[in-house]
């Protein structure tokens, strides 16, 4: 008995150590991400004048929505939120309309140059928008797309497309082709087989792609600030306002910007794990 117990205890110790290490690193990583969020949150929900108090109280003793209210009531914020939403929704529609079929093709058909296409799609992500911006602004001025929600949505779609194509390719690759074939032997055409079988099964993944696209567009600031003057999206407005507004205003803006990403990740983490862990 004692021999057995003695033989077991070092192994138990090793396991406990493993746990401590794993949880310890997890906690460190979580703090690394959470502390800035928390500080932003604290500053966004304290009184404007408290922003400069130092050291900060670790617990929110004295919450107030005054700062947030000032931020939300200041001129242009509401309009820019509407703009941001309009741009994001347009971006989702455009990038899914073009990206999902491309992803489907990549997943289903083996064609000459398929690898190359995949590579080019990825490579396009490396092209810096900054270089494009001036010619783009000129072109948009000519086309009447400058300072226009649709114009920004087009640019955002261009940014989101590589991502949407690759993700939807992964999603459709996860839907067995034999399911569609079975549907085709049961009286479906290619199209109806897609609509009745592949699409419903791909829907969660497509939704995740859509919401990811939303966040890309919601957070994008460079193109939006260059290509707009009055029709600012929220990030463009915040960026513009940063230079001339008090610190508490910046915190409120930052908090307002960060929220959608957090909410998104909270609801979508299951799909995200599937997307990256699976295929």
């Amino acid at each position: 008995m004692t021999a057995v117990a003695a033989a077991r205890s070092p192994r138990m110790n090793a396991r406990t150590w493993d746990r401590v290490l794993i949880y310890g690193s997890a906690i460190l990583l979580a703090l690394w991400v959470l502390v800035p969020f928390y500080l932003i949150f604290l500053s966004a929900f304290s009184r404007p004048n408290d922003v400069f108090t130092y050291p900060k109280p670790l617990l929110p003793t004295d919450l107030s929505t005054e700062t947030m209210q000032t931020f939300l009531n200041s001129t242009g914020v509401f309009a820019s939120v509407i703009n941001s939403i309009a741009v994001a929704v347009l971006t989702i529609v455009i990038s899914l309309a073009f990206g999902a079929p491309a992803g489907y093709a990549l997943a289903r058909f083996t064609f000459r140059g398929r690898q190359a296409v995949q590579l080019v799609i990825l490579a396009s992500k490396m092209f810096p928008v900054a270089i494009l911006s001036i010619p783009l602004a000129v072109a948009f001025l000519r086309l009447g797309l400058y300072d226009n929600v649709l114009g920004i949505a087009l640019v955002h779609s261009a940014m989101a497309l590589p991502f949407v194509v690759l993700v939807t390719a992964g999603v459709f690759a996860g839907v067995s082709n034999e399911l569609e074939e079975a549907a085709m032997t049961l009286g479906c055409s290619r199209l109806t087989a897609f609509l009745r079988v592949a699409l419903p099964l791909a829907l969660p993944g497509l939704a995740a792609a859509a919401i990811f696209t939303f966040v890309i567009s919601w957070n994008e600031v460079f193109a939006s600030s260059i290509l707009t003057l009055r029709q600012r999206t929220l990030p463009a407005l915040v960026l513009f306002a940063l230079q001339q507004s008090p610190l508490y205003f910046k915190f409120a803006g930052g908090f307002f910007m960060v929220m959608p990403a957090i909410v998104f990740i909270f609801f979508m983490r299951r799909y995200l794990l599937n997307l990256w862990g699976g295929r």
Partner: protein, 350 residues
């Protein structure tokens, strides 16, 4: 009215030729089994018939219609997939009724036929479950039911029983056979289980590397295999083969010589002597051999003997007296011997 006729079908995937050249006719109402080792092209041939693969050459007729260029839905077929391919987002009920809904069958009739299909495969308790909540065998039955309710004149089945346990498999085999007798749909049934093939097929087409080696009724295939491959593939245990050479009207193998009516075969030819396990007796005179293993199987005992270095299986009575390491002689009737060419493996005419 709905036989299948294939003429010179060729199908390649890039550099691999899955179907070399196959011409085959399945008569109306016939139950044809496609049998062959893994990777020989059974599924590919079935998919060509279904219209899921476009053939590189050849034509396919179903009934009188040339369907070579028609999509699957216009071919009047129903198919059971090797991987079941049941729709995960639909209940068993919707799965079975899917094809009928596509055909816009009126609701009352649709529900009746779904019920019938479910009853036939003992799926009634699961009608409102999703496939994820079923076992592999139950999923496979859903796939079979989904194809059966279509009432298509041609039924294509790709190893539909491969995932059932032995007992259920026996039962399902009998059910499918009875069903076929009742409805007489033209059926092409893929399997690599030769017992299943023997018990179900009106004819069996034995495939090997993209060609059909032999297509005949089961017993004919068993007694007169067209090649060493077929003899070695059909039957459990497979046919035994002894290598040798003809010499002065006799067949000379390793350590034995058998008289053969040498009139037909020229001297010095390399031959294979093929003989079934149940046609070998332990006798006084014959091919000398040494017993290696005795396996009692219940009704009979399977004895493995060595002729030279070649293992030969013998079906012996269960009360056989032979023991391992004993020297025995193998006797058989000349009429039971099947001669094959040793280089090509093809059977000699007899």
């Amino acid at each position: 009215m709905a036989g299948i006729r294939m003429q010179g079908i060729v199908k390649t995937f890039g550099k691999t030729t899955a179907i070399k050249e196959i011409s085959l006719e399945v008569k109306d109402g016939e139950f044809l089994v496609l049998l062959g080792p893994s990777g020989c092209g059974k599924t590919t041939l079935l998919r060509c018939i279904a219209g899921l693969e476009t053939v590189d050459a050849g034509r396919i007729f179903i009934g009188d219609r040339d369907v070579t260029d028609l999509p699957p839905r216009h071919r009047n077929i129903a198919m059971v997939f090797q991987s079941y391919a049941v729709f995960p987002h639909m209940t068993v009920r919707s799965n079975i009724g899917f094809g009928l809904r596509m055909k816009r069958v009126p609701k009352p009739q649709l529900e009746r036929r779904v019920q019938e299909g479910a009853a036939l495969l003992a799926l009634e308790p699961f009608l409102d479950r999703y496939p994820a909540q079923l076992s592999g065998g139950q999923r496979q039955r859903v796939a079979v039911a989904r194809a059966l309710v279509m009432d298509a004149p041609v039924l294509l089945m790709d190893e539909p029983l491969s995932n059932l346990d032995a007992l259920l498999r026996l039962q399902a085999r009998a059910d499918l056979k009875r069903l076929h007798r009742e409805v007489k749909r033209t059926t092409v049934y893929v399997t690599h289980d030769q017992v299943e093939a023997m018990s179900m097929g009106d004819r069996i087409a034995v495939m090997r590397e993209g060609v059909i080696e032999q297509c005949e009724p089961p017993m004919q295939l068993y007694t007169n295999p067209a090649s060493q491959f077929v003899g070695g593939f059909i039957g459990s245990p497979p046919m035994n083969f002894l290598r040798g050479r003809t010499k002065a009207g006799a067949f000379e193998g390793e350590g034995f010589s058998l008289p053969m009516d040498g009139s037909r075969v020229e001297d010095g030819r390399e031959l294979l002597l093929g003989i079934r396990a149940e046609q070998i007796r332990f006798g006084e005179r014959g091919v000398p051999a040494r017993v290696q293993v005795v396996e009692p199987l219940g009704a009979t005992a399977l004895v493995t003997v060595l002729v030279g270095k070649v293992p030969v299986k013998v079906d012996a009575p269960v009360n056989t007296t032979v023991r391992p390491d004993q020297n025995v002689s193998l006797a058989f009737e000349p009429a039971d011997i099947r001669w094959m060419d040793a280089t090509t493996g093809a059977a000699l005419a007899h």
